[in-house]
Structures are given as structure tokens and as C-alpha cells.
Amino acid sequence: MNHLYFDLPKFKDKKNVEIEVEKIHKLSKKINRKVCIMEVCGTHTMQIAKYGIRKMMPENVKLISGPGCPVCVTPQEYIDKAIYILKNYDVIITTFGDLYRVVGTESSLEKERINGKDVRIVYSPYESLDIAKSVNKPVVFLSIGFETTMPAVACTIKEAKRSNINNLYFFIGNKFFLPALETLILFNRNFLSPFIKTEMFIDGFLLPGHLSVIVGEESYLWVAERYGLSGVITGFEPLDIVRGIRMLLETFVDSQPRIQNEYVRVVSYEGNKFAKKVISEVFEPTGGSWRGLGFIDESTAKLKKEYEMFDAEKVFNIPNITINLSNTKCKCNEVLIGKITPFECPLFEKVCTPENPVGACMVSSEGACAAYYKYERCYLR
């Protein structure tokens, strides 16, 4: 790993970035029309806002944000159910920091901790295992995240089974990203779209770097083959992002939709075989709902039969919670699929802020609204 660490300055180097931005400007003139590029990873959203990359772009190249934040797309019911477990059973909840302040219908994990409930932030699912070993009560890990985090959860579950841990449970909210990407494309194609839209408005994707380490370049080939759209697997440093955009523009110029890999230093063609194998050993896909995108077949992870004893939903008696969002003016649905920018939502900054979020995109630090609020408000209006 050492060479990556020491190479990093190159990827933040002003000159290197400027050279790519210049190429982008030249290419944009050749394209001669407005193009929309969607980043589908929350970390890209944050980095684009943080480094001001949107403002480096030519007039006709628009960067929009997609549904790539695992916290944002986790339905509100999930938080409510986690809080239900916490309130009705004597348990320890372990969670990633991202979920800690996310507001459910009435409460958040943070508020419950203040009321004396035991909520602990962990950096890795593995820590839950150590906690379970050291206490005599149930420990419930709130497992959310895409293919990126699933291998670590799967390994933890396998280890729990191997070492006969019987007080550790997993509340599975993990999602498979690729089916959602297809749903998003279909939305845009107007097959399923609730919006009146006559043409495709996304021209290409910056594909997620971390997730691609697991799934590999080969997992996206269908995007170009089936839908004629380009995608570039892109890293997270400023140079990565502008280079990814430049590579995308090249495919618009030569009208040859294709999938490319900018992040070759860590992403391979076939991905991480071990990680993919361990995911398929422990999880299987089932239908599930996403904030913003609705119900998507084969998009949500559930534990396979042989690991069911670790499934919090099977062990705890959790009522079915459904949330009616039809009355809200929140435009998260449209933000998540790139139909509007956060600034175009009537609630943005006025009613909906990171402290009092109304919708999904403002709750997580990597949500599109949170990123625009944190770094870009006052600038893009």
C-alpha cells in the first residue's frame, strides 16, 4: 500500500489537474451540445463539491449527483425499526458513524443514546464481534452499505458462526448497487419514469471507485451494450475525477459508448474474486425499497438460510412499519435520480438543513443536498 500513499500528491497536483481541465474544455467544444454526467457515488459528490470541480467545467458540461450514498437510499423504516429494537429489547446497537444522527420518524440513534440506550459507533463490523464476546446481552449491528461494505459484514458473520457466538445479530439493510443503476437508467429512459420527459438526460456516468474494487470493470459492460451509455470507473482524488470526466467526453466526441477504468491503480477487470465469493456465500438478493427509487427487484441483501440465526429481523419481533411520504414537498426522489439539483428543491436551506433534514439527501454527510449545502450554497444559485 505504501506506493499509493506516497503517490497521492500527484493526484492533487494543481498542474496535473489544470492539464486535464484544459482537455475537457477543448473536447467540450467538439461536442457542441449540452451533456450531463452523473456521479453515482456519494464520495464523488462530496469531492466534486469540496474541490469546486463543478466550477471548473465548461458551460455545456453539467455534473449531476445520483443515488450513491448508502445512508440516503436506506428507507426511513429501517431507522424506525432499529429504534424499535433499541426501545423494546435490552440490546447494544453497533453502527457506522453515518447512521448515528440520521432522523427516523420520531427519533434518532443519537437521541436514544441520550435517553440511556446503549449505542456504539464502530469503524468495522468486526468490532461488534469483540463487543458481543465481552457482554452477556444481545448485540445488534446495523448493517447498511453497498457491495463495498458487504464483504466485511459477510466475513464477520462467518466468523461469528465459526466461533459459536450466539448473542450477535445483524439488521441487514445492505443493497446491491447494480440493479439500482439499471433502474435509474430506465427512469431516465422514460420507461418507468413518473416524470414527463421526452429524451434521455444522462449522457454518461462517473462510476464508483470503492464499489468497483469489489465488483470489477466487467460488472458494468451492460451499461454500454444494452443502453448505449458510457461510464468511467473513477478514483476520488481531484486528478482522478477530472480525468474520468475527460475520458467520458472522449466517448461523446467519437460517439462510441464504452466502459473505461480510470482507477486502474486499485480496480481490476474482474474485481475482487474473494470478496464477491464471500458476499454470495452469506447473502442473496431479494426485492427491496430504496429511498428515492422505490421498490427494485433483486436489489436488497438478505441472509442465506444457513446464516438466518444471525438475522435480527428473525430474532426480534419487529412490527411492519410503513411511511407515507406522499404529503411532503421534499424532492429527494428527483434529486436522487438527477432530475433536479438540490438548489431546485423548494425546501433546500429554508426548511431542510443538515441539522433538521426533511429528506434522505440531506441526512447523510455524503448526500447530494448535504454536499451542496456544506460547500456550494451561495455559489451556484
Binding site: E18, K50, G52, K55, P70, G97, R101, E110, T149, R377
Partner: protein, 338 residues
């Protein structure tokens, strides 16, 4: 549900500010407190003013690379007095100790207090000791109050800050916060990051010279909430905007990469041995020259300037020349999932 105190009320960010405005000022508002400076400044004679400050220290763990709770409490109190241009003189030491703590721990803490008090020529003149039952506090909490005197010619305040002034930081940022987080463990990796915990008395005295004093507008040690919190407080109180430049902000590589790995913004992370100084542009280079001569100021740099703006905000010019907002941190930073 009844409103309850959140951990973030003590984070030094937006919630702390709201707590002060909604509760502290609601009950105790007066002309000295309302200034909300790091030390209260009260006139006692025609020649001098009294500076008075108090701070509690609850850091966990109590020993961390680069310092401990004892050194931290004395340095923090000295630095708070320096913020208003005071000469720090006396400090009180009040201890809340958890029953069962090894005496050896207290002796280690006292030795480091003694060392720093001696080297900075400060006297510990009064104190108090309470011991509470196991579990009622985390090992030891320390409260220190400090008294200093301020020359009548020195008047540092928010309203002195004007467009055109420049912002100086006396050294590299975010080291204390990162060192303490690392010392808490649980990350599965090690680092050589040290807390910057230090008394800035020598450094600040060097610039409080009669020919420079009239040009110093404001000083603040960017502790909890980091430089983001201090800069945002300044723009809110002074009705100006501040533009800082990313490439000019000194930060060590190990701190930069640690923050990047965990998704922290170093601008929001605590410092305990740095001062943010706002001066007239005419004197800025001279101040930098003096600071650089001191070992605690060798990385001092001009990081930005005050600008006129209808909507006060802190702006960061990124490495690539684009601009973005620097927000007042809402609460303490939490590590991200990916």
C-alpha cells in the same frame, strides 16, 4: 420529548454557540460576558485591565502523544489569556478525581503541570480537590481559572476587524484532535501524530511590542471546532467575510492523510498550540518574521484575508483556484462508512 443536553453542545461548533446564546446569555447577559472573548477583560485602573478566564478539561485518554490532561489545562488557560493580549500570571487548579485512580497518575499529571508553570513563570495560587465515586467521572477532570493583566493600550476585539486585514496561523493545524483520536485506539493502525499542546506565551509576547500592538486586531486559539469554528465566529460577529487559501494552510502530511482516511476535515479539528491572529496587512510580513524566529512559530503563515461582503461567510480557495464555503461545524466529526 423533553429537550436534553447533547454531546455536541460541548463540541465548540454550532450547537455550542446556540447553547451559549439560548441559555447562558439568557440568564447571565452583561457587558463583559456579552463580548464572548476567550478571556473576560475588565478595567481595574487607568494603566491596566484584568483578564480572567476559566476552562474545564475532560480529555480522554488523559495521557496522549505530546501531552496529558495536566499540561493541556495549563497551556489552554495561558493561551486563552494570551488571546486578549494579557500577561498570564496566576492559575487556580480544581480537581475532580474518580475514586480508585492510582496516586502515581496524579503525580505524573502534577509534574507536567509544575514543569509548564515553572517554564512559563505562572503560579498555581489556589485550588480544590473533590473525589467522586467510581464511575461518576472518567479518571480525572480538571478546571483551571487564569488571571492576567492587559496593558491599556491593547484592545483586541471583533469590531477591530476590517476588510483588507490578513489572517495568520502560527503553525500547522489539526494535530491535537488527531493525536487524541488516535490515542483512543480502535482504528487498527498506528501513527506518529503528536498533539501540538503548548503554551504560546513566548511566541505571543514577541509580537506584543508597542510598535506592532496597534496593528493587531484579534487573536484566538483555534481549539474545539478547529479554525472553521473560529473563522465562522469572526465573520458572524464582525460582519465581514474571510477568504482563506487552501495551499497556504500549513498541515503535516501525517495529519492530512489521517484526516483523509477517516473523512475528517482538518479545518474542523482541534489545535492546542496554535494562534489565529488577525492583523493589518501593512504589518503582516513583519509579524510573520517575528513568529518564525520562535520554535513554535516556524511554520507561521498568512492564510487569508478579510473581505467586504453583504453575506458574511468563510470562503476557501481550493488548491485549484475554485471557491467553496467553510461551514461552522455542527457537531464533532464522525468517521464515515466509505
Amino acid at each position: 420529548m423533553k429537550e436534553k443536553i447533547l454531546l455536541s453542545y460541548g463540541s465548540g461548533g454550532k450547537h455550542t454557540l446556540e447553547f451559549i446564546n439560548n441559555f447562558v446569555l439568557k440568564y447571565f447577559s452583561n457587558e463583559v460576558l456579552n463580548q464572548l472573548l476567550d478571556s473576560a477583560v475588565v478595567k481595574i485602573s487607568d494603566e491596566t485591565k484584568l483578564a480572567f478566564t476559566v476552562d474545564s478539561y475532560t480529555v480522554s485518554p488523559i495521557f496522549f502523544p505530546g501531552g496529558d490532561i495536566g499540561k493541556l489545562s495549563i497551556c489552554g488557560t495561558i493561551n486563552d489569556l494570551l488571546c486578549v493580549g494579557a500577561l498570564p500570571l496566576f492559575i487556580s487548579l480544581s480537581l475532580i478525581i474518580e475514586e480508585g485512580l492510582e496516586v502515581e497518575v496524579i503525580e505524573k499529571i502534577f509534574s507536567s503541570i509544575k514543569e509548564i508553570a515553572y517554564s512559563e513563570n505562572i503560579k498555581i495560587v489556589t485550588g480544590d480537590t473533590k473525589v467522586v465515586q467510581k464511575g461518576m467521572c472518567d479518571k480525572i477532570f480538571i478546571t483551571t481559572a487564569g488571571i492576567g493583566i492587559v496593558d491599556n493600550n491593547i484592545d483586541l476585539n471583533y469590531d477591530k476587524i476590517k476588510p483588507g486585514d490578513v489572517v495568520i496561523i502560527t503553525g500547522s493545524i489539526a494535530e491535537h484532535g488527531c493525536a487524541v483520536l488516535l490515542a483512543r485506539g480502535g482504528y487498527g493502525f498506528k501513527s506518529d501524530i503528536q498533539s501540538d499542546c503548548a503554551s504560546l506565551k513566548g511566541l505571543i509576547e514577541a509580537i506584543l511590542k508597542p510598535e506592532i500592538v496597534p496593528y493587531i486586531k484579534f487573536m484566538r486559539d483555534p481549539t474545539r471546532g478547529g479554525i472553521s469554528a473560529v473563522l465562522n465566529e469572526i465573520v458572524n460577529k464582525s460582519n465581514v467575510s474571510i477568504e482563506i487559501e487552501e495551499e497556504k494552510i500549513p498541515i503535516k502530511d501525517n495529519v492530512k492523510y489521517f484526516c483523509e482516511l477517516l473523512g475528517f476535515d482538518p479545518l474542523n479539528i482541534a489545535n492546542e498550540g496554535k494562534m489565529l491572529i488577525i492583523v493589518s496587512s501593512s504589518i503582516a510580513e513583519e509579524v510573520i518574521k517575528i513568529l518564525k524566529q520562535h520554535h513554535l512559530g516556524k511554520d507561521a503563515a498568512i492564510i487569508g484575508r478579510i473581505i467586504k461582503d453583504d453575506e458574511p461567510k468563510v470562503i476557501l480557495k481550493t488548491l485549484f483556484g475554485t471557491k467553496r464555503i467553510v461551514e461552522l461545524p455542527i457537531a464533532e466529526e464522525l468517521p464515515r462508512i466509505c
